[in-house]
């Protein structure tokens, strides 16, 4: 078990800079999720840790060891791939044992510097059986990958990783090939396994829900830069910028561009609607913003509620909107509403009387609102 440290890592493909100043310190036994839209460089960052890509500059440490020039096989890592990379010509047993067959262990287990030898078939068999016992796939050992379902293949791929007892797990979108229900199930399983084994894990995904549920910490990435690294709560509640705010959370945050006018009560003016906003909020914005004429107001759908069901009604934040789409999710109802030219997503109580084509009164909870600088897109309320 070990911590992983990426120190000012830069990766270029030719002149194209893919990763810029990547800094992250992953503690022992921690699970960190790299999340971001496709093409943002999260997989490349992980491959740098794996050693499958060389870093252009900067350092990567696994444990206390600088591994920049260490080949992947000596980094003591195990990787789970998106398509599982199970060899179709081998049975499940051989697939899981594949990594062990290339491995050499010291003759004397107490002395790590003694002569190396290959593992015997018996030892390999023991380890494989141990791994499949943990994953509960004992009955699959004799099958070929083509005879497995998606979830089974996923487990076998996990088995191949855990059988090696590595210091670090690297998982590259391991659940993206599964159907939605199975994905949720495997997500829980994966987390349980990670806690049980206590292995430092880097998990790459583009699915923010996976990131939120799995990670001890989330590293949100865009354009080869870590936008924010923090616990799911922090990233969700205090996003540092507009990108993070928009990426994390489903359905995404509503963004309303506009400007702040300081009258007796501060008013946020957008294209189609004006809000009175609390004074402390306005003061914070005034201090930090480059110009109060170019701002973006962000509010999550769950902070917009049908006025019938809000306990504390605030006149300044009540707006009237026309319902365009009504999505019933069972536990909630999502409303896609229109105010002037602005669309607003709202998550309202299931008891709502909202009808498509009719208007509805909505209450915005300003305690949870975010205001971003229009130019830098940084969050002004942190």
């Amino acid at each position: 078990m070990a911590r992983v440290l990426m120190d000012d890592v830069i990766k270029k493909f030719g002149d194209n800079i893919v990763l810029t100043n990547i800094n992250i310190d992953i503690a022992d036994k921690e699970m960190v999720v790299f999340v971001g839209p496709s093409g943002c460089g999260k997989t490349t960052a992980m491959r740098c840790v794996a050693g499958l890509e060389e870093v252009s500059s900067g350092n990567v440490f696994i444990g206390d060891r600088l591994v920049n020039n260490v080949p992947p096989k000596d980094r003591d890592i195990a990787m789970v791939f998106q398509n599982y990379a199970l060899y179709p010509h081998m049975k499940v047993f051989d697939n899981i044992a594949f990594g062990l067959r290339a491995r050499k262990i010291p003759v004397d287990p107490k002395d790590p510097n003694s002569k190396l030898r290959k593992m015997t078939n018996k030892e390999i068999e023991e380890k494989v059986h141990e791994a499949v016992r943990i994953l509960q796939i004992e009955n699959l050992l004799g099958r070929k990958p083509s005879e497995l379902s998606g979830g089974q293949m996923q487990r076998v791929a996990m088995g191949r990783a855990i059988v090696r007892e590595p210091q670090v797990f690297l998982m590259d979108e391991p659940l993206s090939n599964l159907d939605a229900k199975l994905r949720t199930h495997m997500r829980t399983e994966l987390r349980r396994l990670q806690i049980e084994l206590g292995v430092t894990t880097i998990y790459v995904t583009h699915d923010q829900a996976e990131a939120m549920t799995l990670g001890d910490r989330i590293a949100v990435m865009n354009d080869g830069v870590f936008q924010q690294i923090g616990t799911p709560e922090v990233v969700y509640n205090k996003p540092v910028n507009k990108f993070v705010a928009g990426f994390i959370g489903s359905p995404p945050m509503n963004f309303l561009p506009g400007k702040l006018e300081l009258r007796e009560k501060p008013i946020f003016i957008t294209e189609s609607v004006n809000f009175e906003i609390p004074e402390n909020l306005a003061n914070m914005v005034k201090e930090k913003a480059k110009s109060i004429d170019n701002l973006i107001l962000g509010i999550r759908p769950e902070n917009i509620e049908d006025s019938e069901f809000t306990l504390k009604k605030d006149d300044g934040a009540t707006i009237t909107a026309e319902v365009k789409v009504r999505e019933n999710h069972g536990s909630d109802i999502f409303l896609n509403t229109l105010i002037g030219n602005t669309t607003l997503q709202a998550r309202v109580n299931t008891g709502t009387s909202a009808q498509v084509g009719k208007t509805i009164e909505l209450v915005l909870n300003f305690a949870k609102v975010h205001i971003f600088d229009g130019e830098t897109e940084m969050n002004l309320i942190v």
């Binding site: 990379a85 015997t120 090696r164």
Partner: protein
């Protein structure tokens, strides 16, 4: 035993323990060098002598020069010049020496060591075949005995594989080779003594001792024992085959001094191997050495102890798998004779020479690189020719030319026959026991469960039966008894004297034909008609009928060929009906003639088909094997590795594909002629080792393999070559099989290039491939078309077999093959 002698013994023992690897290595070298024939040793001595001469010559020249001029450069130059001249002379001498070897071996007159290889191999096979059979038997027993020991016990202790194997072990050797079982038995004895002692003693455990005997070393030891035996047998074997030849006791013990020395060394090694057991005995009677007994017992190296006391083995110990043992045996069988005649007499002496004269060789490269290259190529070619001609002689020895001939097959026939028959009987009994056992238990369930096993058994029985039958028929005496004189043209057919046979045959044939036809049509209709509209049914039937008609048109010539190859008189009728489909009179004499089972009465059949078959196999298999490996390697690099100029190389590869092969004939011929490859099989193999189309095919296929497979293996710790070997190659089996088939067929049928290269020199009759052979004997055998047709059948068979075996792969590869069009 006094205390002093004890400590002395102990010192010696400890020294041997500490230096056991070194001792083993030294003994190995001594054994290997002692088993080299004197003439080979002379060759090596010659090399040493002439190397010394070259050095002396060079320095002598240089020192002469030094007296006249003090110029350092001039000194160095003359030094190099002297060395290079010497080397030139030597290599030329050497090549002419090789040339004489080649010529003489090819003309069967030169009594070179290679000739003895036939006897050598004969002896080796004679010994290894029973071992292989027994290993096979063990394997089969383990397979059908159940999985992992559980059902093994269920099926009864009687059929414990180990028990049967131990019993069987004695049978094949009972005829006279008591050496090997004696050694086995000795080891067994020690093993059981060790067991006894272990039960009686309570030792302090200590780990740093006894990694002495592991199975690999023991295996090598055993094989060397066999080698020794072979050397002894070489003098005994002819006597065994022809007892009336010389069966005095003196010839029985006519050992060379080398053999005696090796014998002593063998026992020395054997002593080292059994030392730990002696150590146990020593301990038993008052010693002080501390050993972990478990280790010793676990390390007992012989395969037949496989099932014994698994708990007592050390944790990290593994017995060799059956596959591994077989591989080792085969490797050894191949390497040892090669070591003697091929390596020592040709290329390794060159390498030795180069090492001894390295500075002069560098000078030679610098002064005249082209000539050096030429010399290297010529020496490679000569080495290849020596190997091939030696192997050809061996292969010719496989099939007896005359009934009294002492060929390998003749020597082995009774033995193989016994073993196969024994195995067959055993399998049949075993099947019955299995049936009885399975009925005693839950009959329905176990029957279903055992269907696969029974199928396997059935297959094995059939294979055994076929082997028995072939061996029986190939025995010239039985052949003669069954078919009469194969060279007499049968004018009095056997059928005519037995009219009832003809009637019976006719009735049976017609009935079965009608029955099968009706059955097929019925099944076919059942399949087609099922819930389909009439137009679809009509369409399906039309298409299938068309296919059937084409298939019949295609197959009729083959049937005609096979039919006429089974009779001596060919009806020259254009109408097929008049000829009939049953050979009349039926005879195998055509095949007997082409295989030269008996002394051929035709002087014109100068060299036998075995030679042509061998040449064809060497060229086709050689080209295909290397082509496939090289293409796969090149394809992997072009598809998956990043390097500068990759695309350029790929484009060039594709570009070369557009150059017609007939354009290349003349320049290629001229070039090969310049290198001296004309008149050698290497001339047919060498130019086709890499072909752009195959490289292109591999590249395109391997591009479709996901990179994740390679990355996963990389993370797991596999090297680039291992990734290629263990991941990429198995994943590319479809393309490789297609490549293999295309190239094998092309090279097997190749005519033009072999005609140009092989049919020119005085050695031509020896070098012909099968198509070339047919072409040449065609004129000579005009009146015996049956023989030619039999030849043609024989040529077609390998390709049929290949196509039959690789059917699935061909279907899978059709899409890839489509690229070729």
């Amino acid at each position: 035993m006094t205390v002093e002698t004890q400590s002395d013994l102990r010192k010696i023992y400890q020294f041997m323990q500490n230096r056991r690897n070194l001792i083993f290595f030294l003994v190995l070298i001594v054994i290997v060098f002692l088993s080299i024939p004197i003439s080979s040793l002379n060759t090596i001595l010659d090399i040493f002598e002439s190397s010394t001469n070259i050095w002396v010559n060079a320095f002598f020249n240089a020192s002469n020069n030094l007296e006249t001029t003090s110029d350092l450069l001039g000194y160095v130059l003359t030094l190099i010049q002297g060395g290079v001249e010497g080397i030139f002379n030597f290599i030329e001498d050497m090549l002419s020496f090789y040339g004489s070897i080649v010529e003489n071996t090819l003309n069967f007159s030169f009594n070179f060591e290679i000739i003895n290889m036939t006897g050598y191999i004969l002896a080796l096979i004679f010994l290894i075949t029973p071992v292989l059979f027994i290993v096979l038997l063990l394997y089969v027993l383990k397979k059908i005995g159940g999985k992992k020991g559980q059902s093994n016990e269920k099926n009864g202790d009687l059929l414990n594989p180990r028990n049967i194997f131990l019993v069987l072990l004695i049978i094949p050797f009972a005829s006279g080779f008591l050496w090997i079982p004696a050694l086995f038995a000795l080891t067994l004895l020690f093993y059981y003594v060790g067991l006894k002692i272990k039960e009686g003693t309570d030792l302090v455990k200590k780990k740093d001792l006894i990694l002495l005997i592991n199975w690999k070393k023991a295996f090598i030891f055993l094989l060397f024992t066999i080698l020794l035996l072979i050397q002894i047998l070489q003098s005994i074997l002819p006597m065994l085959i022809e007892p009336e030849l010389d069966s005095t006791l003196l010839s029985f013990f006519s050992l060379k001094s080398n053999d005696v020395f090796i014998l002593i060394l063998m026992f020395g090694i054997f002593f080292i191997f059994i030392l730990p057991y002696i150590e146990i005995l020593y301990l038993k009677y008052g010693g002080g050495m501390e050993i972990e007994v478990k280790n010793i017992l676990g390390n007992i190296p012989f395969i037949f102890l496989h099932g014994k006391n698994p708990k007592e083995r050390p944790k990290n110990f593994e017995f060799p798998s059956v596959n591994m043992v077989i591989t080792y045996i085969i490797l050894f069988a191949i390497i040892m004779p090669c070591f003697d005649s091929i390596i020592l007499q040709s290329s390794i002496s060159d390498i030795l020479f180069i090492i001894l004269n390295f500075p002069w060789i560098i000078g030679l490269i610098a002064l005249d690189p082209l000539q050096f290259f030429g010399l290297i190529i010529t020496s490679i070619k000569t080495s290849f020719d020596i190997i091939i001609s030696a192997l050809r002689i061996i292969v010719n020895g496989f099939i007896p030319a005359v009934p009294t001939d002492t060929s390998i097959l003749r020597a082995l026939q009774p033995f193989l026959f016994q073993i196969s028959a024994f195995f067959l009987v055993f399998l049949i009994i075993y099947t019955f026991i299995m049936i009885i056992l399975s009925k005693q238990q839950n009959p329905v369930k176990s029957w279903k469960k055992n269907v696969k096993e029974f199928n396997l058994l059935l297959l094995l029985i059939i294979v055994c039966f076929i082997i028995c039958a072939i061996l029986f028929i190939l025995n010239p005496e039985t052949f003669y008894n069954i078919y009469g004189d194969p060279y007499a043209i049968q004018t009095d057919p056997w059928f005519e004297s037995q009219p009832w046979v003809g009637i019976l045959l006719f009735v049976l044939l017609s009935l079965s034909t009608i029955g099968i036809t009706f059955a097929l049509v019925w099944i076919y209709i059942q399949i087609v008609v099922k819930k389909r509209s009439k137009s679809i049914i009509a369409k399906i039937i039309m298409i299938n009928a068309l296919v059937a008609v084409i298939a019949i048109i295609m197959i009729v010539p083959f049937i005609w060929m096979i039919k006429n190859s089974l009779q001596t008189q060919i009806q020259n009728s254009a109408v097929l009906e008049e000829q009939g489909f049953i050979p009349d009179p039926l005879t195998l004499s055509n095949y007997a003639q082409i295989f030269g089972l008996f002394e051929p009465p035709y002087e014109t059949l100068e060299y036998r088909i075995v030679t042509w078959l061998f040449n064809s196999l060497v060229t086709a298999v050689g080209v295909t094997a290397f082509l496939v490996i090289f293409s796969a390697m090149a394809g992997y690099c072009l598809a998956k590795r990043n390097f500068v100029g990759r695309n350029v190389i790929f484009v060039i590869t594709v570009g070369i594909m557009f150059v017609p092969s007939y354009v290349q004939v003349i320049p290629l011929y001229l070039e090969l002629n310049r290198l001296g490859f004309v008149g050698s099989l290497l001339g047919v193999i060498f130019p086709f080792l890499i072909q752009p189309f195959s490289v292109f095919l591999c590249t395109e296929f391997m591009r479709s393999i996901p990179d994740d497979y390679l990355d996963a293996a990389r993370v797991d710790g596999y090297s680039e070559f291992q990734i290629f070997w263990k991941v990429v190659l198995p994943l590319s089996i479809p393309v490789i099989s297609v490549m293999t088939i295309i190239n094998f067929i092309a090279n097997w049928n190749a005519f033009l290039w072999p005609l140009l290269i092989l049919d020119q020199s005085s050695l031509a009759p020896m070098l012909r491939t099968l198509p070339l052979g047919i072409f040449r004997v065609n004129n000579e055998l005009q009146e015996r078309a049956g023989v030619i047709l039999a030849l043609a059948t024989v040529i077609v068979i390998p390709i049929f077999v290949l196509l039959f075996l690789a059917q699935d792969y061909i279907k899978r590869g059709v899409t890839i093959e489509g690229l070729k069009g």
